[in-house]
Symmetry: C2
Subunit: 215 residues, 2 copies
DNA sequence: ACCTGAACACCGTTCAAGT
DNA sequence: ACCTGAACACCGTTCAAGT
């Protein structure tokens, strides 16, 4: 008779609880059994609402990406601004869900909302008026840069360690890490935002140069 | 008495067998128990040579990255060429180990050889003579771009599907994917190499512009 | 020194049964 | 219609025992 003290199970509640579990305990801790116990339910009850764990994760991925479409991009602004807005929104979304975003990006299942996001990106880059080939190349490059930085940044403390590399430098100087030692001060400051902007601006300027030479 | 028909277990043999298993069956199929059975050994025998599964994976990651240091980069070439060589070597390495490289890149454990690779990259970018801040930003950007493209490309067939997006376009036109439809021809050709070169050249030109304005 | 086997504490998922 | 519980086929890892 626990059913009288508990609201009926619905997939919304399952998704929400799963996301809380992931954000608080980490993705690797998510199991159908632990999730069920957090819901106060038999492990198998979940399977009446969601077919399996893979579907649960895909649902979570789509839900998260959904938020990207709620953030407006000014339609009258120049394409440079729109593009910057879009990638900043994407980065912000990643930082809001740090324990699930890397696996969302790595996931090779085709997500409806991943497609929709790609479509959004292509739409903005098309506003340059450049030929299709250039549009696709630039979109790919922007997407790769953004996702690469998300992985870099969400490595989090670990990424910071990779950067400073103090573990392997403890006692004496190691020629394998000479440059890391020399640049330690700058590396330790971890200015990913500045590095990202450097890469983004380079790509935008590349596009502008193409526009100029096409005139 | 199977021991007489089998060479004694050594960590090299374990690593090699694990890598074969991953390359043929996929990373998700790697288990200590399956690995042991492939080695013709009790599951627990492995633990006498390698402390646990995480250590096994880290060992594999380091072994793979080791190959990067075998590929020579011409020390007398201009930095642009050296940088291109380095990133091409890295991409080639990723393509040689497609089923393990994404997890190598996602791994937040600090790998000795990941540091060494970063050091290599920093060393080449320093040859520009630009200030430390710029060197670190450009290195970050190049690293993000390269890793982002590796994820894009190693999504493999799945990535191709995301690109073409045919699953969601089957019957009628969907406004969510209008740009994908329009650009389907170019997207389907999947010219990641060209897209990567576009991004890479943009960053190199960004660095060259900084050099010019510093003169 | 090296390998084995039972055991522990977990997984995801199926299926027949209960209410 | 919805939930339960036993069961199956797996995991990684510990530990005492064997050779």
């Amino acid at each position: 008779m626990p059913s009288q003290s508990r609201p009926p199970l619905h997939s919304e509640l399952i998704y929400q609880t799963a996301l809380e579990l992931i954000q608080s305990q980490g993705l690797e801790k998510l199991s159908m059994r632990l999730l069920a116990s957090k819901l106060g339910v038999d492990p198998m009850a979940i399977y009446h609402h969601i077919p399996n764990k893979a579907a649960l994760l895909n649902g979570l991925y789509n839900n998260i990406l959904e938020e990207l479409f709620l953030l407006p991009i000014p339609d009258d602004a120049p394409w440079q601004t729109q593009l910057k807005n879009l990638v900043d929104n994407f980065r912000a979304l990643a930082l809001r869900y740090p324990s699930i975003f890397p696996s969302l990006l790595s996931s090779s299942t085709v997500l409806y909302n991943k497609q929709k996001a790609l479509n959004l990106l292509l739409g903005v880059v098309r506003k340059t008026g450049l030929p299709d080939q250039a549009v696709v190349q630039a979109s790919d490059a922007v997407f790769a840069l953004v996702t690469g930085f998300i992985f870099l940044e969400l490595g989090g403390l670990e990424a910071a360690k990779v950067h400073t590399g103090t573990e392997f430098l403890s006692t004496q100087s190691n020629p394998d890490f000479g440059h890391i030692e020399d640049l330690a001060q700058v590396l330790q400051s971890n200015q990913f935002k500045a590095s990202f902007d450097f890469g983004f601006d380079a790509i935008v300027q590349g596009l502008e140069a193409m526009l100029k030479s096409a005139q």
